[in-house]
C-alpha cells in the first residue's frame, strides 16, 4: 500500500473543505491525525475511506478494503437502521437487524468475530437488535466489524472515546498485535492516548495539513503536544492576583501620551517629533523597518531608555522625570521581546520565572506568596508545562522560553502588554504556539496590547490601530 494525496482539495457537502493536502502514507507507517475541534482531522481520515468530493488535486493508491470506525459512520448505520423501521409497512413489531448480522455482512472471518465478541464481552448482545444498543455498545460493534473485515487499512476516528478502562486497555493491546499486518490511521486528540506503535503524526488546522511529524523527532513531537494542548484546552488565562493589585488608573487619562518625541544617537535623530497617544482599551500594531526606532520608542514607554528623561512623556499618570521610579512605571506594563529573552539567562525554575512577572524582575528575589504560586501553576497548566515547574528556564527550548515570557508578562494582568516581535526567531510551529497563546490572552481581557510585527501572516485579531515608523536616513 502506498497512498498519495497531491494538492488535494475535498469538499464535504459545502459544509467543510480540506485544502491542498499533500500527504503520503505507506505500509510501514501508523499515523495519528490530530488537531483541534473543527480543524478537519476527521474529514482527512474519512477521505482515506473515500468520503468527500474531490475538487482538485489527486488521491492515489487507496486500498480496496478500508475498515472505518467513526462517529459519523456509526451515526449513519444507526440512522439506516431506524429508516428500516420507518419503512416497515407490515403490522408487526420491527426488531431491526440483529448484531450478529451487522458484525458479519457476509464474507468476514466468523472465527475472528467470535473471538472479538468475547474480548469485547458482547456475547450476550449478539442476537439483540443493533439499534437497541447503547452508544458504547454500538461503538464496540463497529470496532469488531472493522477489525474482522481483514482490511488493508484501518481508519479509526477516536476509537477510544466512550470505552471503559478495561475495554480501552484490551483494545490498545489488540491493536498492537495488528501493527505488523495492517497499517493504521487513527484520529486522536489526546497525546496520552497515542499508542506506542504510532510512527507519524499529522496535525490539521483550518482544513489544512499543517505539520507532519516523525515521532522519533522528539523536539517536534513535544512542540506539537503543546500546540495541540493550547488549541484544545478548556483552560482560560488565569486571573490576576487580588492581593497584588496594580493601582487603579484614572479612567479619563490615556495610558501613554508621547509629545514631540526625539531619540538621538550620535547626533543622528532616529525618531523626530513624534506624537502618540495610547488610550485605554486600544490595541495597537507598531511596524517599521529595522532601525526605524521601534524598540527605542517602546523603551521610552517602559522607562528602559535613558532619553525618557529628556522627552515629554506621560505614562500611567506619571510625567516622566518628576520623581517617580521605573518600578512605579513597570508595574503597569507586561513586556516581551527577543532582547528580554537574551537578558533572561537564568537558571530560575519555570514557576518562579512566571512569578517574577509580578515584580518585573529578571529572576525572582522576593518570597512568592501561595496565591502567586497558584496562579503561576495555572499558567503552567495552560502552557502544558505543569510537569516542568522546577525545570531551570535556561534549559528550555527557545520557543518554550518565549511562551513562558509571555505568561510572565501577562501574569499580573497589566493595563498595557507590549509584545515586541514575539514571533521573531521562531519556527512555524512555535509561531503558531505563540499566536495561539496571544489570541487566548487578547480574548476577554482588559489589557491593551501593543504589538510590534511586520509579517502579515502573524496578524492578531482585534487590533485596529496602526503606527508605522519609517527609517530616517542619516543627515536628515
Amino acid at each position: 500500500m502506498n497512498i498519495r494525496l497531491d494538492n488535494l482539495t475535498v469538499n464535504f457537502d459545502d459544509r467543510f473543505q480540506l485544502d491542498q493536502i499533500n500527504w503520503q502514507l505507506d505500509d510501514s507507517q501508523h499515523w495519528v491525525v490530530t488537531g483541534a475541534n473543527g480543524s478537519g482531522k476527521s474529514a482527512l481520515a474519512a477521505v482515506l475511506a473515500g468520503a468527500g468530493e474531490n475538487l482538485s488535486g489527486s488521491i492515489e493508491g487507496l486500498p480496496a478494503k478500508v475498515g472505518l470506525v467513526s462517529f459519523e459512520a456509526q451515526a449513519e448505520l444507526i440512522e439506516a437502521e431506524l429508516k428500516k423501521d420507518d419503512a416497515d409497512i407490515m403490522d408487526v413489531i420491527a426488531e431491526g437487524t440483529p448484531v450478529h448480522e451487522i458484525l458479519n455482512p457476509g464474507n468476514s472471518n466468523q472465527q475472528l468475530i467470535d473471538e472479538l465478541v468475547e474480548k469485547f464481552q458482547l456475547q450476550s448482545l449478539v442476537d439483540r437488535a443493533f439499534r437497541k444498543l447503547s452508544t458504547g455498545e454500538s461503538r464496540k460493534v463497529m470496532l469488531i466489524r472493522a477489525l474482522a473485515s481483514e482490511p488493508d487499512l484501518l481508519v479509526l476516528d477516536e476509537p477510544f472515546d466512550g470505552l471503559d478502562a478495561h475495554t480501552l486497555e484490551m483494545l490498545q493491546e489488540y491493536l498492537a498485535t495488528l501493527v505488523e499486518t495492517v497499517p493504521m490511521v487513527m484520529v486522536l486528540n489526546r497525546f496520552d492516548e497515542f499508542p506506542d506503535f504510532i510512527t507519524h503524526i499529522a496535525y490539521v488546522d483550518h482544513g489544512r495539513l499543517q505539520h507532519q511529524i516523525d515521532r522519533s523527532d522528539e523536539t517536534a513531537y513535544n512542540e506539537l503536544y503543546k500546540l495541540l494542548h493550547l488549541k484544545t484546552t478548556d483552560l482560560a488565562v488565569p486571573g490576576a492576583d487580588p492581593d497584588n493589585d496594580i493601582p487603579r488608573l484614572d479612567s479619563n487619562q490615556p495610558l501613554v501620551r508621547l509629545n514631540g518625541i526625539n531619540i538621538t544617537y550620535d547626533g543622528h535623530k532616529i525618531i523626530d517629533s513624534l506624537d502618540w497617544t495610547i488610550e485605554r482599551n486600544q490595541h495597537w500594531q507598531l511596524s517599521g523597518p529595522n532601525g526605524s526606532g521601534k524598540t527605542g520608542l517602546l523603551s521610552l514607554i517602559t522607562g528602559d531608555h535613558p532619553q525618557c528623561y529628556v522627552n515629554d512623556i506621560f505614562v500611567f499618570g506619571f510625567k516622566r522625570g518628576s520623581g517617580e521610579s521605573i518600578w512605579q512605571i513597570k508595574q503597569f506594563i507586561g513586556y516581551v521581546s527577543t532582547a528580554l529573552q537574551w537578558e533572561y539567562k537564568v537558571g530560575t525554575g519555570l514557576r518562579n520565572v512566571i512569578i517574577s512577572g509580578f515584580y518585573d524582575s529578571i529572576g525572582l528575589y522576593t518570597k512568592a506568596t501561595d496565591k502567586q504560586k497558584q496562579i503561576a501553576d495555572e499558567w503552567l497548566a495552560l502552557l502544558g508545562m505543569t510537569d516542568r515547574a522546577d525545570t531551570p528556564f535556561n534549559k528550555l527550548s527557545y520557543g518554550d522560553q518565549r511562551l513562558l515570557l509571555i505568561a510572565r508578562a501577562m501574569v499580573k494582568h497589566p493595563p498595557l502588554l507590549i509584545l515586541d516581535e514575539p514571533c521573531l526567531g521562531l519556527d512555524d510551529m512555535n509561531r503558531q504556539l505563540v499566536l495561539a497563546l496571544i489570541e487566548k490572552i487578547c480574548a476577554g481581557s482588559e489589557t491593551s496590547v501593543l504589538y510590534v510585527n511586520h509579517h502579515p501572516e502573524d496578524q492578531i485579531k482585534g487590533i485596529e490601530n496602526y503606527l508605522a515608523l519609517e527609517k530616517r536616513e542619516p543627515g536628515k
Binding site: Y265, G303, D304, P306, Q307, C308, Y309, V310, G323, E324, S325, I326, W327, Q328, E343, V346, G347, T348, N352, S356, Y359, D360, S361, I362, G363, L364, Y365, T366, K367
Partner: protein
Amino acid sequence: MSNNYFNTLPLREQLEQLAKCRFMDISEFPDGVEALKGKKIVVIGCGAQGLAQGMNLRDSGCDVSYTLRAAAIEEKRQSWKSATENGFVVGTYEELIPTADVVLNLTPDKQHTPVVNAVMPLMKEGACLSYSHGFNIVEEGMKIREDLTVIMVAPKCPGSEVRNEYVRGFGVPTLIAVHEDNDPKGEGLALAKAYAVGTGGHKAGVLMSSFIAEVKSDLMGEQTILCGMLQTGSLLCFDKMVEEGIDAGYASKLIQFGWETVTEALKYGGVTNMLDRLSNPAKIKAYDLSEELKVIMRPLYNKHQDDIIDGTFSSTMMTDWANDDVNLLGWRAETAETAFEKTPAGDVEISEQEYFDNGILMVAMVKAGVELAFETMTAAGIIADSAYYESLHETPLIANTIARKKLYEMNATISDTAEYGCYLYNHACLPLLADFMKDIKTDVIGKGLDLEDTGVDNARLIEVNAALRAHPVEAIGTTLRGHMADMKKIV
C-alpha cells in the same frame, strides 16, 4: 603632605573602628529613597561606577546631574559623552556644586584630594559629601568642613554589574558608613541608607561598616588574594605548563578561564565546594599544596596587612602618585610583556570539569589565598563579615575580568590602589614561590592526576574534609550566602 587619619586615633578607637561591620536586614530600609527625595544629587565623575550609580538613582526617582572638570566638558571627553547621551544635565563644578544637597564623589582615589579641595568651598552649608571608598579620609587624612555630612556608599561590584543587577530588579551587596567626625545633623545614616536603596543595594544586602574598616580590609583583599594571587598564579602556572611541554594555547586558555570556572564553585559553596568539585585524590592533593603554600606565603600576607594598617603602603603609593606614577606605569608595561599575557587562548575545547581536574594547583592557590587573606584580616581586628566580602566574595568578580581579557582587563578594571598593591604582591610572591614551583609537575597543573584508581585512605579523606569545613571563612560564608540566597533566589 597628608596626615594619616587612622594613625591619629588612639588604639582603643582604632580597634573599635576596625571591628565595625554589621549585616543589615532588608526590613531596616522601610523609608526607601525618602531621605533623598527633593534633594539635588550631583555626581562628580562619569566613569563606569559614576554612570551606573547615577542611572540607578535617577531610575529610583532621584534628581541626578553630573559635574565634570571644565576641560572634560570643553573637549567633550568620554565622561561628558556618557552623561549627556544618557540624558543627564552636565555642568562645571562652579555651575552645579553650589546647588547640590548631596555630592557623590565617584572619581578615582588618586584624584580625591584635588577634587575635594576644589568642590568643598563651593558646597552649600550643611550639604552631604559621599565617597565610595574611604582612602582619602583614612589614609590621606582629608579634613572635611565641619558643617558637611560625610558618608560612604560602596557597591561591592564593578559599575557594569551595579547597573545590570538594578535593571534586573535586584542590586549588588553594598557597604555603607558614616564618618562620625562629620555628621553634624545626625542624618548621615539616613542618607546612606536611602542612597543604598536608590542603587538597589538593599535588595542584595547592606553592610554597615566604618570608613576605617572599609579601607583597611579593601586594600588588603584587593592586593593579596583578589588581584595579586591571581596575577602571580597566572604567571607561574603558565610558565610551568609551557616548560613541561604543554601546548601554550591550551595553557593560556586553562588559566584565563580556569580562575573564573573554579571560583564560580567558590561563589556558590565556598572553599569546601570548590574542592568538592575535585576527585578525592585530587582534593587531597590540592589540600596538601595549599597547606604548603600557606606556610610559604603567610609572612607575605602579614607584611601586606601590617603595611596597610600602619600606613606604609599608602604613603609608598602616594609617593609614586607624586612621582607621575613611574612605578605603576612601569609595572603595568612589564605585565603586558609576560608570556601568559602575550599568548592567546588556544582554540581548544575545555569542559567545565576539566578546569578543575587539570587545574589542581590553581584551586590550591585560590584556597590558600582566600584563607590567608581572611585569617590575616581577622587577626588584625577586622570583623569576619567584612573579611569574607573582601576575600572570598570578590574573588569570582575579579576572576571574571581575567576571563574577559586576561591580566590587562583585570588591572584596567580594578582601582589604581588595587593595581599598585597587586604589583607589589606579585613582585614579592614570584621569588617566594620559586622553590615550591620547582617540584610542580603537570599532574597538578595542565594534565590532571591520571590515576587508574581513585581510591583514597578513609582516615585521610575524613581529615581533609573536616579541615576544609572547619575553617572560619566557611562558617561566616555559609551565614552570609544564606542571607544572599534568601534574597537572591536566582542562585
